[in-house]
Symmetry: C2
Subunit: 347 residues, 2 copies
DNA sequence: CTGTTAGCGCATTCAA
DNA sequence: TTGAATGCGCTAACAG
């Protein structure tokens, strides 16, 4: 009550309760082999002192730290924030703390964040690798001695399980859908082309175009709004302008919506639009925007569940080394040219 | 290289380097009073083993933990995610890890998250209190013995500094703006009315209405879309329907946009709209939505800076016990009835 | 059922 | 400039 700075220790609790530290420890850890009376005394001492176990000491003893690390590109990004929340829910259910660190999709930041995380001796790690080919990270993971699960992106040569979504297939199906609408000149607008998920989506697009015998049209330039605007305007003024756009991430999609609005290009009559990754007002805009919807929470949740399964030593899981692949969902609204909104769930 | 599970320790390094642990320790910590040759030997041993200092052991020795805790209602929420990112940036700049835990705005979860955080013996704490009147939390903070800064909401009786935004004043000004447009029956749509920030906004609204001699019209019901839809429809069908709506958080604002779209109520001609808290496509919707824009990153950043200032013992700060209040910004677009968009910055 | 004790990895004495 | 010894708070093993 009156104490302020130095946090109370177990031995203070024990002293106040008039018992040995071992006994106090047993009470703190669930109270097996402790008599009811002792239990009460110790508990009230804990209350009185406001005792909280010192995590560092537990770590030092070498047991479970009840901590897992989460390494994501960004925490402000809706996608990863939602994954993080889903993972956190699972972690809490296992009475463990999720520590988040960010990579900004840069291998350097990734390694340094990882180091900082490792200081806390997490029981396991959840990682969205910046680069699936990163040998250094793969080696680190292999030698870390703790279970690691990657999600959203794989990590080749790491030997750890991963949970992905079918970017390739979803992009292929989405493109195919545009093709079924009769569009021939489908522009694929790419930013951050170095990212694994984006590359997969480009592959899916290319595959679909090839299947249909259409000329692919990939624009890998427009990183910011201004550039995208200029680039899009140029495409539209070209001799053979595109009749549809497939954007590969939701910020690109909103950017295109804004740009087309400014340019007064009607959607979909002049230019159809289909985006990868849903966003909050996609269904409310005029026209509503058709998108590929990712199983965001599922990714985070499944990855976390897998990690805890491995932590609890389910050996069956050990054998599964192929990634778990979750399906994306094509949500058809108006911007692709569809007239009817099939389900109103997303309203 | 070949070792996998148990992380190498300082004494292994020392042994490999053929020196004592004390010497190795000195090398790790900057290498004062170490000969060049010894230095080299130890460093290469560190390299060889992939040694990383055990954070727990250092903590146990009683030094700084280079860790600060962040306690927010949610991590998936854009507002808090952005605050968290801003705070994280500051934390990293101070070489410390930000550990995030969530409260879901519930005092119970808040205390338990706080306990888990405290096990990690953070050097300081950043808190968005669920309830500013929470005596238990205030007492905890007072006795914690570490610097605490709250942001977005105060914590009365805790004696700690806080960084707020001027919810009251911004809501008042926003309402006044609607009043200047000539609207008389301005509906204030409230959800989560128990939250401090929301209450402040309601106060601002009421104050403005009173100043103007108008009858306030507060609806504190609609927690979800379905309810909101019904409630809004009822208001519009009533004998004296509102001519403007002031929504107090951005999810309400988008909800209203969607509902009015479905109801085919034109904005702003039949019903004007002004929302608290900006959102990504607010400027792109038709009509674009006028909003109060909060200094989101500033809140997180300033709070973190204040915390580190206190950690570094700047005593000048100690004396400032009144909260730092950051200004919100009224961004006028079309939905309130404004014809011109004053600045195109937010496009 | 309970008390005592060793030792986790490290920084920091203190002696050499 | 260096090595050895101490103790941080805790849990697990063991002795009572």
């Amino acid at each position: 009550m009156r104490k302020s700075n130095p946090q109370p220790t177990l031995s203070e609790v024990a002293r106040l309760a008039g018992v040995g530290v071992g006994t106090a420890s047993r009470v703190v850890n669930g109270g097996v082999n402790v008599s009811a009376g002792t239990m009460r005394k110790v508990k009230s001492a804990i209350q009185e002192l406001g005792y909280m176990p010192n995590h560092a000491a537990r770590v030092l003893k070498g047991g479970r730290t009840k901590t897992v690390g989460l390494l994501v590109p960004s925490i402000a990004d809706h996608f990863f924030a939602s994954c993080a929340e889903a993972a956190d829910k699972i972690a809490r259910a296992h009475d463990t703390l999720l520590i988040v660190a960010v990579t900004r999709n840069q291998c350097g930041d990734e390694m340094s964040s990882l180091e900082v995380l490792m200081r806390h001796r997490p029981d396991g790690l959840l990682i969205v690798p910046s680069d699936p080919e990163n040998k250094e990270l793969a080696r680190f993971v292999r030698n870390s001695g703790i279970p690691v699960v990657t999600f959203d992106r794989p990590l080749f040569g790491s030997g750890c399980s991963s949970v992905l979504s079918d970017n390739f297939e979803a992009a292929r199906k989405a493109t195919l859908h545009l093709i079924e609408h009769g569009y021939k000149r489908i522009l694929c607008l790419v930013s951050e082309p170095e990212l694994y998920t984006i590359r997969e989506r480009v592959r899916g697009y290319l595959q679909a175009m090839e299947e249909a015998g259409l000329q692919p049209l990939v624009d890998t330039g427009p990183e910011d709004m201004a550039l995208a605007s200029r680039s899009l305007a140029a495409h539209l003024k070209s001799r053979r302008p595109p009749d549809a756009v497939f954007t590969l991430k939701n910020s690109s999609t909103s950017a295109v919506v804004q740009i087309l609005r400014q340019l007064r290009i009607p959607i979909p009559s002049r230019l159809a639009l289909l985006g990868f990754d849903d966003f909050e007002l996609a269904g409310t805009l005029h026209p509503s925007i058709s998108v590929v919807q990712q199983p965001i929470e599922d990714l985070g949740r499944t990855a976390a569940e897998l990690l805890f399964a491995e932590l609890e030593g389910h050996p069956s899981k050990k054998t599964r080394r192929e990634p778990i692949v979750l399906a994306n969902r094509l949500v058809l609204r108006r911007s692709c040219g569809c007239k009817e909104v099939p389900a109103r769930k997303d309203l």
